[in-house]
Symmetry: C3
């Protein structure tokens, strides 16, 4: 796994495959670049930073949000985008991911890869001389999502520095199956936060993550009762709870309502709390909540674009 640092040179030509590559220092550096991107977009929409560069946007699974976010990030920096998806791809002719990557690197300067198989991003990176950005590989990692989530907290909390010490982050929903919350928990661990995990018994945060964070002194609390931790939360991070993930219907019925956020829920929360969701939502957050100033989930999408602009500029050596 390649190390990333706090200079452009330490990012240039590198892959971003896993949150394992991230730490407090290189995240702070990335967010400085993201801040510049945000200002530039507000001022002029886009520029020519990546003119002459081509991004291959390779999605072997559909994803409007992540795909559009990466595409727009590249386009606003003056780069060009070529899209490959499963139906148009030669993988249907039996081509290996290795060969697909070897071909794409002949045309493009960087590849964004979404793939249904855990470890696919690492396989792709090993095949390619050009940077590979993992845009989600099955139940594996989704590092740019974790970064945009963290950047959202940084911006919404109006921090002048990335100082999250003592902040209480509460994650809610299916914590077992969501690569998003796994990646985010591990990333937050670099910042001395306190973590609450609210889930039904059968969908708890995997113990290997809890143990890993315990070992480095991160305070964590597991509960199935949202109310018990709501009032003290600085961030409430909601994920989808899918009925079919539960062991029994009875268990689902018992918990489902406590995981739906309504305006009533929010009356018990801090006025400064940040309400997040990786989207798409189905009904975990009532539409009435959208106009609450604490509802950050759509701004979260926008922050994602700036983070991805920063990543693209850095790995292409043009920040």
């Amino acid at each position: 796994m390649e190390k990333l640092g706090t200079t452009i040179g330490s990012w240039t030509g590198k892959d971003l495959l896993s949150t394992e590559q991230l730490n407090a220092e290189n995240v702070k550096y990335l967010f400085q670049v993201a801040d510049h991107m945000k200002e530039m977009v507000a001022r002029q929409g886009g520029d020519d930073t990546l003119k002459g560069k081509v991004m291959a946007n390779v999605f072997f699974e559909p994803s409007t949000r992540t795909s559009c976010s990466f595409q727009t990030a590249m386009l606003r920096l003056g780069g060009a985008v070529v899209c490959v998806n499963e139906s148009s791809s030669s993988s249907q002719k039996g081509e290996t991911l290795h060969d697909t990557m070897r071909c794409l690197e002949c045309y493009g300067d960087v590849t964004v890869l979404r793939h249904p198989t855990k470890g696919a991003a690492a396989t792709a990176a090993a095949a390619s001389r050009k940077p590979v950005l993992n845009a989600g590989d099955g139940v594996g990692e989704h590092p740019t999502q974790a970064l945009l989530d963290l950047y959202t907290i940084y911006k919404e909390a109006k921090l002048s520095e990335m100082n999250l010490t003592g902040k209480v982050i509460t994650m809610v929903g299916d914590l077992k199956n969501g690569r998003t919350v796994h990646s985010l928990a591990k990333l937050l661990a670099h910042f001395k936060v306190t973590l609450n995990y609210v889930s039904p018994e059968s969908l708890k945060m995997p113990s290997y993550i809890v143990d890993e964070l315990n070992a480095i002194g991160i305070k964590q609390k597991e509960t199935s009762n949202l109310e018990s931790v709501l009032a003290s939360s600085d961030v409430l991070y909601i994920t989808r709870v899918q009925k079919e993930r539960f062991d029994t219907v009875a268990e689902y019925e018992a918990v489902k309502d406590s995981f739906i956020i309504t305006s009533t829920t929010l009356t018990k929360a801090k006025s400064t709390m940040i309400l997040m969701h990786p989207l798409p939502r189905v009904n975990e957050i009532a539409v009435e909540v959208d106009n609450d100033p604490r509802a950050a989930y759509f701004r979260q999408m926008e922050y994602g674009m700036y983070v991805r602009m920063a990543i693209l500029a850095l790995v292409l050596g043009k920040a």
Copy 2:
């Protein structure tokens, strides 16, 4: 429904959802801008008017023509395009159109939407702070098609002003189910034209449109006999007649030939008549007619690009 005027400021940031927003004055203004676009493209192919702007091109129904036309319009103005279609979209994960729009506005500056459901464009516009352009919503509206049709008449008739008073426009085919002819008839009503509707009995122009235009003094004539109005027509607007729309096979057999335009048909028409079709055609117009100078249907596509360039530039405040 937002009002549009005759200054760039009156278009900036607005949606274009319905021909109801259009009148003689703002159409004339739009066509002046379209004329400038036509000249610019002829001179240099494209420019940087919309550099730094991103258009989300969202098609929940396939449409080569309209999609390509909007994409090319944006690209020729130096803007960037991100495409979303049904198969790649999160609507498959149960996301509402409202949420999809809230996300897209985080990345893009304007959204073009084709959707199978009437009213979808208005729903989308209500969700988004950024301009939404209706590219057809089910049996609802298709305002940019009506505008490009009108612009085609303006250019092909070589009018120096948008003066259509007394012009005879004859619409032929399935006038019941075509949103195109509905939108166009309402738009033409601002210009004191005379309208003929040629269709089989079961596929007549809806009475609510006929009544609406009657009320403002537009002369209209309904017939199933094309020959009775052909010689006096300044514009002949052909649409597809689909066999399955007829009540009986006998009725279809009785009329189908009179709705196929051949070189023989055109011998009875004015030498200056403008022959139009929204395309794709199946066999409503014989291929032999394509080389007749009156056949305007392919030029119609090109005019559409200029009209869409003008609309994009205006709603993005850059005309």
Copy 3:
């Protein structure tokens, strides 16, 4: 079939439909332009040569490789791309290829067409005033593939001039059904090479090609034994052999192993031999071979981009 020459004017506005349009002189000219493209990309990634131009990239069959190659070629020259594929196309509404092309020429400046039907490119070109580039039409032609194959030989052999006299090119695999080897053989015939055809009896090079090349004095040898020609080959061009193409399973079993290239195979080949494959490969070449310096098949993809950049620039009059 349009003639192409050795000046930009002789390419401007022309179609590229068939290797029949190519000869030693115009190929040399094209490769000079491709060399310039290669240098420019190495120096700066891209430029604005085709700014203001739009390429319609129309694929009625999926093809990652060819589609991405053409898209990237256009984008690196500063042009814009609009993609049309079968699922998004109006051909599903019964539109003819003729009409599709008439529409696309209204928006774009050049059309790249991949189509499952032999002769489709010529039909498309006849319909369009704008240049059409054949990106494969069924069992017909694939001239840009033949050109990129030839350019690969030229670059890998480090020739200062396009002098291939006496070079031995050995084609291996299914020589009956591959449009690629048909096009390439005819193109190579302009350069006084010697050709070996290695295939099972049932998948031999069609006799009409062998006869045509015999008539102009090209030395050709047919065999099913790769080893008999391996040591003397300057180029080894491998294609896929599909089991289902064989008359009997026994015949397949008898030959399949001799058509799989491994490191052992290469021990019997010249140290300067150029190993090529149009890709995607399935298992015709063992992965262990990829690191052999003679393995040119991935570089072949990159050369293809430069060749297509050159073609686009020339037919658009901007080389």
